[in-house]
Amino acid sequence: MMSRFPRLQRRLSAFLFLNMLLSSLFLPAAQAGMVGTEALLDTAQAEQQRAHLQGLLQREDLASELRAAGVEPQQVQARVDALSDTEVAGLVHRLEQVPAGGDVLALAVFLFLVLLVTDIAGYTEIFPFVKHRAR
């Protein structure tokens, strides 16, 4: 009984090998390297959102609010640079939900809170009063 298994295995692996070979031969190889429009759209959108955030931080009124709260805007800039595309998108999305987009204080408080939370989670080290565990 047991002696049948190796043969089955051999046949199975030969079959799988042939299968893989054939499927790789008949795959539309050219299509594989085509860069889809969606991939470029995503890249473009991520760049736009990052630029939007950075532009926001360039605003003098917001910068002075942050400074008044003891945060250097440059540190926030650095933090935004370090965010992944997905994180930037999430941040921009949440920013859009801050009532009255023109309200500087609301924006500053929002950014402050977001950065404080990420600081506590250990992703950033912007605020000196948050104690970080040694890692």
Binding site: L21, A30, V35, T37, L40, L41, T43, Q45
Partner: protein, 319 residues
Amino acid sequence: MAESRLAILRLCLLLLAGLLGGCALPPLTPAPDLPPRQTLGEVPFFAQQRYQCGPAALAGVLAWSGVAVTPAELTPRLYTPALRGTLQAELLAAARRYGRVAYRLPTHTEALLQNLAEGTPVLVLQNLGLGWLPRWHYAVVVGYDLEADVITLHSGLEANHRTALDTFRRTWARADHWAMVALPPDLLPASATRADWLAGAAALERVGRAGAARQAYVQALRRWPDEPLARLGLGNSAFALDDLAGAEAAFRRLLQQRPGMAAAHNNLALVLQARGRLAEARAEAERAVDLGGPHAAAYADTLALILRQQAGPTRPPQP
């Protein structure tokens, strides 16, 4: 005794008012040229079965757009039994599989009304319950009357259900202002933003609806002739449809407009390779590799593919 009971009652009422009236609605500022009322008469209504408001609502919107489909056909694709309902992303995905340009609308009432004014029915998510006790519901907005402050929906078991505009705005706000449209790819509404339309078209390209994607890109280029990603999409969809000459023309035109767009060089290289012009293909692929960028790995693959093919005729596989 009676006084203290009254006080408790008052407190309860106050709490209830606090829970119900939590969100104040911002004043509505519709565009000055928005017609004061609109009724879309030609949106089919499908009465929903239990928990099936998602398929029923989508079937209505799709049928309006020219896709003959019933809620029963959509249900296996859309209904998630564990949730007793349908996820928003699945509605968008399903509409795309039927070759419609589908995208989420901006989250303000004015955009919703604008779409209706243009003749497009809008699929909305509502929370008919409360924030902490949600009752999710999909419906199709088919009309409004600003003078009577009324909005008309195909909802549940009722066609043309009229509800107060402010009530609708509250239930919609509790569902994060989620609204979508599903449009025929040759119908680009005036209010559609470039980003939304392109995202919808690119999603069609991704799910393999190349014919619909091409139509959507043609419409996009009619309105935004210099949009590079629409031109790229036109080339990509032409290539997917085996229209190699059309694809080559699109990528060459894009490169005239945007010299140094690496992805366009890469995709042109693959079109030329498919047309058997390997030397030209190689030059384009090398250009893409030189330019690099976030998709550099794909460009390297393209060049490798062309170099392999140039190295000699492919031998038949050895058994």
